[in-house]
Structure formats: C-alpha cells, structure tokens
Amino acid sequence: MIVLKSVSLFGEKQTDISIADGIVVSLEPTSEKGIDCSGLVALPGLVDLHTHLRQPGFEASETVLSGSKSGVAGGYTALFAMANTNPVADSASVVEQVLTLGEAAGLLQVQPIGAVTKGLAGAELAGLGGMARSRAKVRVFSDDGMCVFDPALMLQALTFVKSMGGVIAQHAQEPRLTEGAQMNDSDLATELGLTGWPSVAEESIIARDALLAEKTGARLHICHLTTAGAVDVIRWAKKRGIQITAEVTPHHLMLTEELVRSYDPVYKVNPPLRSAEDTAALREALVDGTIDIVGTDHAPHSIEKKDCEWENAAFGMVGLEHAASVVQKVMLEGGRNWRDIAQVMSSKPAEIGGLTNQGRLDVDTEANITLIDPSATRTVTSQTHSASTNNPFAGVALPGAVVHTLFRGNFSFKDGEVVEK
Amino acid sequence: MQRVVLDSGEIARALKRISHEIIEANSGVSDLIVLGIPTRGIHLANRIAKLLSEIDPNFTSDAGVLDITLFRDDLVAADRRIQPTVIPGDDIDGKVVVIVDDVLFSGRSARAALDALIDFGRPKQVKLAVLVDRGHRELPIRPDFVGKNLPTAVTERVNVHLAEVDGSDEVVISS
C-alpha cells in the first residue's frame, strides 16, 4: 500500500491517494501514514501521442530506455512511439519489438504507432491489420515525418483504419510546396536567404483530409498544428461534425521563427517555428479547446546532426521534459485550470490513442499518476535524461516541476530521480 | 596628475629653431621635402614648411603627408584609419626628406615611416624632426632635430596639443 498524503487533486481539493496492487483504491483522506505530497498537484499520468524513440535503428539519438527515462522525468506514464525507425514500424514484427523494448524498460507504457504506408514511402499501405491484431494492438497509424500525400491512398487508409477503431495521425505537409524548405515562409526567410515553408502547405492537406474523413466517417488526428490558418480549418471541420482532433507541440506554443536568425539548427524543426501571430493563435486554440491535445514531437538527434550548416542539419527538437511546464504556463495564463491541463496532456491523448488504462485518476483505475510542484521555477538545461541534447528551451526559465511519477502503482520517478526497474 | 612641459610660446620657439637647424644642416632649402606623420605630425610639418619659406623664400613647397598605418607593427584597433599619403612634387628620388612627428618614443613609428617612404622612391637623405623626444627607444633610431628632450617614466603619457586639432598649443605630461 502506497499513500500519497495531502496532494492537491487536479489542483483542487487536498486529499490522500491510496494505492494497492497498482490500482487507486481511495481518493479520500486517510489516517494511514504515507509520502508527504503537500503542495503538489496530482494529475493522471501524462500521455504523449507523439514521441520519437528512435529504436530500432537510431540508437545514437535515443533508445526506448533513454526515451522512457526522459518521459518519466517529464511526468509521462505512456508514450506513443512514432513509426519512423529503421526498419520502419510497418509490420507486426517491428511494432512487437518496440512493445517488448518498452516492457523491458518498464518505466512507462510504450505504445507503438504503426506506419500508414510501407517504409513510409507513401506508395502502398503497410500491414495495418496485422499490426492491429499483433500483441502491440496498434490503433494509431502515422507516417509522421512524411505526409501521406496521395489522396487516394489516404482515402483507403482512413477507410481501413475506421474498421479497426483506429485513427490516422497525419503529418500535414504538402511535399511539392515544401521542396527544399528550411523555415517559415516569411520576410525573415527572405532576409536570411532560407527557402520558405508556406503555411498553405499545412493548411491545404488538413482541409483535404478533413473532407476525406467526412466522406469515410473515419477518425483523423492532425499532428503538430503550426499556423493560425490551420486552426481556422480545424474549427471549420469540427463545426461541420467531422471526427477530427488536433495537436500542438510545446515549441510551437512558445517559440517563434525569430530564433532562426542565429542559424543555430537547434531551432530547425518540421514543421517550422512560425510567426508570433501563429503562436498566439495556437495558444488561443489550445485554451478554447479547438486544439485537443499537446503532443511533444520529442525528436532527439545526435550532436553531429545539429553541429553543422543549417541546411545540412536534421529537423527536430526534444520535448518530453519541459512539455508540462510549457502547458502549465500557457493554460493557466489563458485562464484554464489543472483539470484542463490533465485533459490536453493525459485524458484526451489516451482517448484518441485508445488506451483505456491511461488518462484517468479515479478509484479503481490503474495508478498512473503525475505529481507536479506548480510553484517551482526552473531553468531548462540541454543535458537531460534523453540521449540527445537538441533542446531549444535550454536556458529558458519555466514554471512548475515534475516531482514524482507513478506507473502502475510504482514510482518510476521519485523526488526528481528516475527509479530504474 | 598632469603638468604642462611646453607652452605655446616654447613650442613656437622650438619649431623656429628646428627650421633654422634644417636649413643649416642642408646648407639651404634645395631638394628639401617636409613630410608629416598623421595626425599631429602633419600640422607640425605645415608649420615648419611655413617657417622654412619665411627664412628662405626659395622654399616654396607645401608640407606633405606620410601615412604609416599599413607599415606599423604596433597597431591597435583605434588607429586603423588610413590617411592619404601626399608627396609634394610626387617624387622623392634624390631629395632630402625631413619626416616630422610630434613625439619620439619607442621609435616604431619612425621605423614604419622609413618603410613607407622607401616605397615611393630613393631619397638622397632622410632626416627625422620631432617636437618631443621622451626617450625609451626600442629601436636604433635617433632624431636629427628635437624641440625638447623630455625625461619621462615609461608609464607616463606625453600628449602634444596643437591649435589646429585641440584648440591651443601645449605639451602635457600625465601619469
């Protein structure tokens, strides 16, 4: 029996959480002794629908184990592992391998995402049914990093995935409009001499796929929204009753293209950092619920992929360990509360991804719990539990700190330290 | 701490004496060219040229300018502005060239001036005139004409103020 004493449940009433056999047994004050958690906000364990764990294939950047450590340090109890590994997670054998690696690490739930197309090549459907029926029970399919740009193929994929109760997570990027693109298409791109990445490349794919989702009745999830126009398209699609959900990353909520002036590839990401107007629209959309969830798009890269010319550098940023702080800042400043934070970082991503054991903090649910000190402030560093250091928030002061994470009733992160299995 | 070591009257007398010595050493003003090293050497050279023509009306040339920026081995960021070099008559071959500077210290400016001069031709003789010789030479260089020998400590600063640039004439030593 573990008792978490004097937590602030969802940032509301002060109470105790009693856990037995990995299950929450009581949320009422008890006379039992336990671990003092006064001042800490208790939330259901965070769930990231968008993580790149890089294994198999790119172990120099991240492994399932190092990514899991980074996850628990960020308060996560479940990570959806993107399919762009090598080999690509486009078959039952690869997704089962990732699942097994996650179980071996044992720090949190690693839930594999399956590729939509074979080898992410965008030409033929991957073995969607096989992955769904595998031990990994894949329900989220994505070619993330690449856009499923062939509309006929996208139509088939949506139809197929609907029959399995799954969802397609689309990386919305019109490839012809973004050939050689390096940063947001703007006056700044002109000044810096970098090829622009127009907003319409994102918005046109979202609009097209919303219509395809409407036609098929399938569920569609849009990864990492970055533009004010994309927010408008999502609003329109939701109003029309289309089953569409949208995600935003911590970096697109706070960082703007101005950082590219340094030509430091730590700020190079796909989709790119946008204008201050875009980030403001994204924050507003997260606060008003148009955007459903925050996904980190945690994309670790080894140093040599970033210590080079901008155009030669890899796209991507790490994100697991500061996401909660960014969301705390944006949501609380936007007038929302901790229950809303739990919604966008835990309950809703679990629901979209079909994980019924995650995203809830209630009696008789699995004890996946995150405890956050909301009054802490900390300066982000690039050296973290991740194997990579490509952190654009390094040096930035953010509010809040994850103090403990519990996965299935056991501490996976305690007093700021990872508890290895 | 600063004190005046030469006032305007003393400066005027020193330049007059230097001018007479130049004419004496050269047995006249024939083939004589006066070049000033920027910035204050230019103004001193102008004054000497004027005095020379007053003493001997056969001296009709204006003073020239010898920029040494590109020849220095002790350049700091502050003095990298290159000035035009102006050679009266555009020719120094066979001439007696008097180089004029305000203060002679390490001798490095004079060394640079000699290098700069050689690129313009082959003078018969080169002479060095300075308003103040403060000692502490680092090179085997000695002036031919000196306004005042001034014993100083290495740490002291000698500043020549001239009316053309600074509003009034005086030489000041400060520590």
Partner: protein
C-alpha cells in the same frame, strides 16, 4: 571588428569607415610598389565550397598585397568532398595557423555559424553564403558608386535599380542593406516570382516592370547574373521570356540617362541578362568594380587582422 559576415551587422559609420580605407587602398594599387607589410606573418585561408575563381583571386590578391600568406582550400580538391563537416574543416584550418578564413558556401548562414558557434577563434569573412549575403561585393559596389558620383561620404539621394533574380541573389540582399544604410533609394526589379515581398522590409521598393523602373531615371543600374537553368519551369516559362522582359538590351540602354552607370557583379552572361552593347557601353563600370574589389577586400582584411585586437 572581428568578423565580416553580414552587412546587417555594420552600422553606417562602420561602412563609411571601411569605404574610406578602401578608397585609400585603391590609390595604393596605383603605386609602383603595391605591396604593403601590414599583414606580414598573418595567414589567410580561402575556404571555397563553391567555385568562384574571381572572388577567390580577388581575396588572394588583396591578402598578398598586404603581405599575408594565402592558402586556398577548395571543395573540388580536398577533404571537403569527402564529407568532412564544416566544423572539423574550420578547426583543422585554425590548427594549421589560419588567422582569417574567407568562406564561400552554397548554404545560407554558413559564415554566420563559423563566426558565432564557438568552433574557432579565427576571423571570418563571408565571401558569399547561399542566398543570404555577399558583403564585400556590396562594399565594392558602394565604393564604385562613390567614385562614379564623386562622393567621399554616403550615397544620399542616389537612385539605384537592381535587376534580375532577386530571390536567389546574395548580391541583391547585401546591396539593398548597404545602399539603404548609405542613404540611396534602391529599387529591386524582376519577374514577380523572383522578387519576394521581404525585400521591402529590407529597405527596397519593388518593381515588376523593367520599363517602368527605367522611366524613373535611375542613376545606377545593376544587372545581376542570372542562372539560366532557373529561367525555365517554375519561375519563368522560358529563357526567351526572361531575356525579352529583363535583359538590358540596346533598346533599354537607350532609355538610360546620359550620366547613368551600369554595374554587374560578373561574370556576365552576354546576350542573356545583359547585351554586349550594354556591357561595352562607356557607362558600364564593370572593370572598375573588379579593381575596387581588391581594395575593399584589402580594407576588410586590414581591419580584421592588422596588429593586435584591443
């Protein structure tokens, strides 16, 4: 000043100072003895990831006139083609004793990174990075304009027209930034697909008609070198269409003021962006630009490398 990466980093005073020194050095180039000892003992490396014989030679002459040792390191003949990283190459060159690295690179920002990413301490001179900047070209163009109009100061009131593929031109970017700092009014002209709106923010006005621009009677017309392969497909339907609308032809030459000046950064595509008639017109100052290139690069090398940095 430690590096010259971008005109954007220079104040108006910095620019005028470099131009003043370049003007003095241009006169040194008229002397019988052109060699100066200012950079004796310094080593300048020309690190060229793109072939540009002219720019490389210009820097080489500039450094040699100042008595620096010059080493050329070009992509075609070295480890650069074997996949060595920019960082490793730069650190190797510094270990070999480079005091300054003159870098030409096809990617925007490469010079900026060498100057600012704590890889090396050597001075960095940007000799053209991608579509970003080519600061010494802009300085030599400004020096040429000063000489042409007889100014020892800025270029206030001068009307300059830059024509061609503005989008991909580092020469256009550096020139727009520098000329507007110096008080000139700059117009960039080209087909709409090749003139991004961002140039307005950088200080230029935009035109999509060569004729309209010429009617405004510019004092200087700068024709950019155009990559022919870009003029078929995405940006222009054909080379022919480009030439018809954007070449400085004999007919357009006739629209120029009598005392106007024609500039081109070279090498010229005669008969494409510029007619032979225009290139050989007495108003063309193209060779003057070339000799000013040496003077400007001497001024920059001198400023960055001479003596001790205090």
């Amino acid at each position: 000043m430690k590096n010259l990466v971008s005109i954007a980093d220079l104040s108006r005073e910095d620019a005028l100072y470099l131009l003043d020194n370049a003007q003095q050095l241009a006169q040194v180039n008229d002397r019988e003895v052109k060699k100066l000892p200012a950079l004796r003992g310094k080593t300048v490396v020309n690190l060229f990831y793109e072939n540009s014989t002219r720019t490389r030679i210009s820097f080489e002459i500039a450094a040699t006139r100042l008595s620096a040792d010059v080493i050329n390191f070009s992509a075609a003949t070295s480890s650069l083609s074997k996949g060595e990283s920019l960082k490793d190459t730069a650190q190797t060159l510094e270990a070999l004793g480079a005091d300054a690295i003159v870098v030409r690179h096809p990617m925007s920002g490469a010079a900026h990174q060498l100057a600012h990413r704590d890889w090396i301490n050597a001075s960095i001179i940007n000799a053209g990075d991608g579509s970003h900047e080519h600061p010494t070209q802009a300085l030599l163009d400004a020096l040429t304009m000063r000489q042409l109009v007889g100014s020892n100061d800025d270029l206030a009131g001068l009307k300059v027209l830059i024509v061609g593929d503005i989008r991909h031109s580092r020469v256009a970017r550096s020139n727009v930034l520098l000329l507007s700092k110096l008080g000139a009014s700059v117009q960039v002209a080209g087909p709409a697909t090749l003139v991004p709106a961002g140039f307005e923010k950088m200080g230029a006005t935009i035109s999509n008609s060569f004729e309209d621009s010429l009617e405004q009677q510019p004092d200087v017309v700068m024709m950019l070198r155009v990559q022919r392969e870009r003029m078929q497909g995405h940006y222009m339907p054909s080379e022919r269409e480009y030439t018809q609308n954007w070449s400085l032809s004999g007919k357009r030459l006739a629209m120029l003021k009598k005392d106007a000046h024609i500039l081109h950064p070279g090498p010229m595509n005669r008969g494409f962006e510029i007619s032979s008639e225009a290139a050989d017109d007495p108003r063309a100052a193209i060779l003057k630009q070339v000799s000013n290139g040496v003077a400007v690069r001497m001024a920059v090398l001198h400023e960055l490398l001479a003596g001790e940095r205090s």
